[in-house]
Amino acid sequence: MHIVVCIKQVPDSAQIRVHPVTNTIMRQGVPAIINPFDLAAIEEALQLKDRYGARVTVLTMGPPQAEAALRKAIAYGADDVVLLTDRAFAGADTLATSFALAQAIRKLGEEEAVDLVMTGKQTIDGDTAQVGPGIAKRLDLQLLTYVSEITDLDLSAGKITVQRRSEGGVQVIKTRLPALITMLESSNTIRFASMPNMFRAERQVVPQWNRDRAGIEDASKIGLKGSPTVVSKIFTPRPSSQRAKMVGADLDATGVANAVLDVLSSDHPRFAREIGLVTP
C-alpha cells in the first residue's frame, strides 16, 4: 500500500507578535511548524503502516526551508519525502496549489500506485480547506473530509471505512480506494520519534522536485499565473452589536421549537416567508 501525505509548513500562529512600533505582524523570527492538522494526517498514515504495512511518502510544496518540515516527517517515521520547490510555484492560490500537488502525486504514482492520499482538514494560515478536495477532484479520488478516525481498511477488497464528523454527529462511511482523506486535528497526537529515526531524519537526502521533475508542462496552471484568487482587502471583523436571545428555557422540546419559530417569524419575516413558515 502506498500512502501520500501532503503537509504544509506554516508560521506558528501562537508565536506571531505584533511589532510594538509599527503595529505590523512580525513574521520574521516566528518559528515554522508543520500545520497541526497535517501532523494528525501523518500520524494516521503511520498507524495504517503499523497495522497493515505501507509505504508512506510525505509531500510538500514550498520554499527550500520547508525541507525542515520533511525532515521532521522522516523522524516520525515517513519512508520517503518530496519537496516540490520551484520559483514558478510562488504565489499559488488553492487552485494552483492543488494542481501542482496533484501532478506530483501522479508522478509518485508512476513509481508505485497510490492507494490513499491524506491531507489536513485545513491550514492555520490560509484556512481555506480547499487543497485536499482540489487534489481529489483532479485525481478522481473518492473524497472523505473531516475524518476523525480510520476504522478499517480492506486492501484486497479495496475498501476503506472512516468516521467523519458532520454537523449532525458522526458518520461512518465506507468507500473504495483510491481515496483522499482530510484529517481533523483532534483525531490523534503525533508519536515521539525514535532515536534511529532521528538519525535517519538528519542523514536522508531530501529530493527536490522542480516543475519539470513533477511533470508539469503547462506553466499557466501554476504559481501566480495559475492563481485567479485576488485578496483585495484584509480587515478585522467588527463584533456584532446584536445581543443573543434566550427563549423557552423552561419548555419541553416542542415548546422550544415553537418558541424559536415565533422569534424567527417576528424578527426575520423575509426568512420566515422563504422557508414557508408564514404564507405571503
Binding site: R17, P20, V21, G29, A193, S194, M195, M198, F199, E202
Partner: protein, 432 residues
C-alpha cells in the same frame, strides 16, 4: 543497529558549540545532542559576548554572527534608594575594526553558532534529552536519551549541559549545588526604537553601553544588576545568591520590579515594551567549587563545570574556552592513537589551569566567602557612598572641611574604623 561516534557533546550552549565545532573541524565524527527545540531556545545570558574566546574558534565570526552593539562605554553604578553614584569609562578606541565586546541576544546567537557546527560536519540532533551516561566497568561509553532505542556510544562524552548538570550529578561526578554557590538571575528585554536608544545613551550606529549596578536594589543580598543596550532593545536584569533569596524571602521578580522603578533606571527604559522575561541560575562558587573536570571517557565544560567569573560577569567566554580545550584534548589524543582514559585526559585540566579560565578563578578564590561573611558590602556601603556624594555636592553654606568630617563620621559610625580597615584589607587580598 548501534550508533557509535568519536565524541558525543551534550548541550548546544557556548561550551557545547565550541567543543562540537572544534571536533568536527578536525574531521572527527561528532554527535551533539540538545534538549531544546533548537539551540538557544532554553538559554539565558545578559548578554555580553567577549570576542577573544570566540575569535580563537571562529576567527571571522564578525562577518555573519548576529551581534547587537559593540560596547564603547561601561558604567558602574552604586545605587541608594533614590540616587546613584558611579563611574564610567568610554573610549573611542573601542570603535576599532575588531571590537572586544558585543551585546548579543542568545537565541539568534546560539542558532548562528549551531549552524556553524553543522557546517563543520557535526551531526546535531535537537529535542532530545540525555537522561544518563552509559557506563561499563567504571568507564563512560556513551549516553542514553529519552527516545526509544536511545542508547548511543562514543569514545568520549563531553558534558556541556549547563549549570546544575543533572547528568554529572546522576553519574556521581559531583554533588548537589550549594545554594551559597549559585545565583538566581532574572532579566527582561524591553523593546525601544534604535533612535531612542541612540539618543538616550548618547551613542551612534552600533555603539553600545553597559551599566553594571550594585547597591540598594539587592536588599543587601549578595548580588548585582545590569543594563545592556541591544540594537532595538534594552536588557535589564538582576541576580542574587540563591541562599540569600531563601533567607530574605524576597522574590526575584520583586527586585526586578524595584530596579525598573528606580529613578536612575526609569528614564532609560521608559516607553519600552517588555517582550521577554527569563530566569536562570549562574554558578558563582568560583575556584573552590569547581568539581572534578574529567574521568574515564568523560570531560565537563562551561557552566556545568562551574566555570564562571562572577566578579567580571564572564561565563560564556569561559564556557567557549573550556569547550574548545576539551575538544583539543580529544583531537590530540586521537592524533596519537591514544584512548580517552582518565590518565590521558589529564591534559584537559592542565590546559585549563594554564589558561585565563583557572587563573582568573584562582585570583578571586577568596571572594565568595568574604562576600557571604560581609553583607554590609551590599547594604551599608552603597548607602554611605551615596550620602557622602550628596553631602559633598550640596552647597548650603557649610564649609568643605566640616562636610568631609560628616562623611568620615558617617562611615565610622556605621562601620567601625576597625571594620573599615578590615574590609579594605579583605577586599585587597581577595582581588589582588
Amino acid at each position: 543497529m548501534t550508533e557509535k561516534f568519536d565524541a558525543i557533546v551534550v548541550g548546544a550552549g557556548p561550551a557545547g558549540n565550541a567543543a562540537a565545532y572544534t571536533l568536527a573541524s578536525a574531521g572527527l565524527d561528532v554527535l551533539q545532542l540538545e534538549r531544546g527545540e533548537t539551540p538557544g531556545t532554553k538559554n539565558v545570558q545578559g548578554a555580553i559576548l567577549y570576542s577573544d574566546a570566540l575569535e580563537r574558534i571562529i576567527p571571522d565570526f564578525r562577518n555573519d554572527a548576529p551581534l547587537e552593539r559593540h560596547v564603547i562605554e561601561q558604567r558602574m553604578w552604586v545605587l541608594d534608594e533614590d540616587s546613584f553614584i558611579g563611574t564610567s569609562y568610554r573610549s573611542d578606541a573601542f570603535n576599532s575594526e575588531s571590537p572586544n565586546r558585543y551585546t548579543i541576544l542568545r537565541a539568534p546567537f546560539d542558532k548562528w553558532f549551531s549552524e556553524k557546527v553543522r557546517a563543520a560536519g557535526a551531526l546535531v540532533i535537537c529535542e532530545t534529552t540525555v537522561t544518563e551516561l552509559l557506563q561499563e566497568n567504571g568507564r563512560v561509553v556513551g549516553v542514553r536519551t529519552d527516545r526509544e532505542d536511545g542508547d548511543i556510544y562514543a569514545d568520549v562524552v563531553i558534558l556541556a549541559d549547563g549549570v546544575n548538570s543533572l547528568l554529572a550529578k546522576k553519574a556521581g561526578f559531583h554533588g548537589e549545588l550549594d545554594p551559597k554557590n549559585v545565583a538566581l538571575a532574572v532579566k527582561e528585554i524591553h523593546f525601544l526604537s534604535e533612535e531612542i536608544i541612540q539618543s538616550r545613551f548618547n551613542i551612534k550606529g552600533n555603539e553600545g553601553v553597559v551599566i553594571e549596578i550594585a547597591g540598594a536594589v539587592t536588599h543587601g543580598m549578595v548580588g548585582t544588576a545590569f543594563l545592556y543596550t541591544n540594537r532595538e532593545s534594552i536588557t535589564l536584569g538582576i541576580g542574587c545568591l540563591l541562599s540569600d533569596f531563601k533567607k530574605s524571602g524576597v522574590a526575584p521578580y520583586t527586585l526586578l520590579e524595584e530596579l525598573k522603578n528606580h529613578p536612575a533606571i526609569i528614564p532609560l527604559i521608559e516607553g519600552g515594551e517588555m517582550k521577554e522575561y527569563a530566569a536562570h541560575l549562574i554558578p558563582e562558587g568560583g575556584y573552590k567549587a569547581v568539581p572534578r573536570l574529567y574521568g574515564e571517557g568523560w570531560m565537563i565544560a562551561g557552566d556545568s563545570a562551574g566555570l564562571v567569573n562572577a566578579v567580571h560577569r564572564e561565563g560564556s567566554n569561559l564556557a567557549m574556552t573550556s569547550g574548545r580545550l576539551a575538544a583539543e584534548t580529544v583531537i590530540s589524543l586521537k592524533g596519537k592513537g591514544l584512548p580517552c582514559t582518565q590518565a590521558n585526559l589529564g591534559i584537559y585540566k592542565a590546559a585549563l589551569d594554564g589558561s585565563f579560565v583557572m587563573k582568573d578563578l584562582k585570583k578571586y578564590r577568596q571572594l565568595p566567602e568574604i562576600l557571604h561573611g560581609n553583607p554590609h558590602f551590599f547594604s551599608v556601603y552603597p548607602q554611605l557612598l551615596n550620602r557622602a556624594a550628596h553631602t559633598m555636592l550640596t552647597v548650603d553654606g557649610e564649609d568643605k572641611h566640616s562636610k568631609e568630617k560628616t562623611v568620615r563620621n558617617s562611615f565610622v559610625e556605621h562601620r567601625s574604623l576597625f571594620g573599615l580597615v578590615g574590609d579594605a584589607f579583605r577586599m585587597w587580598r581577595a582581588t589582588r
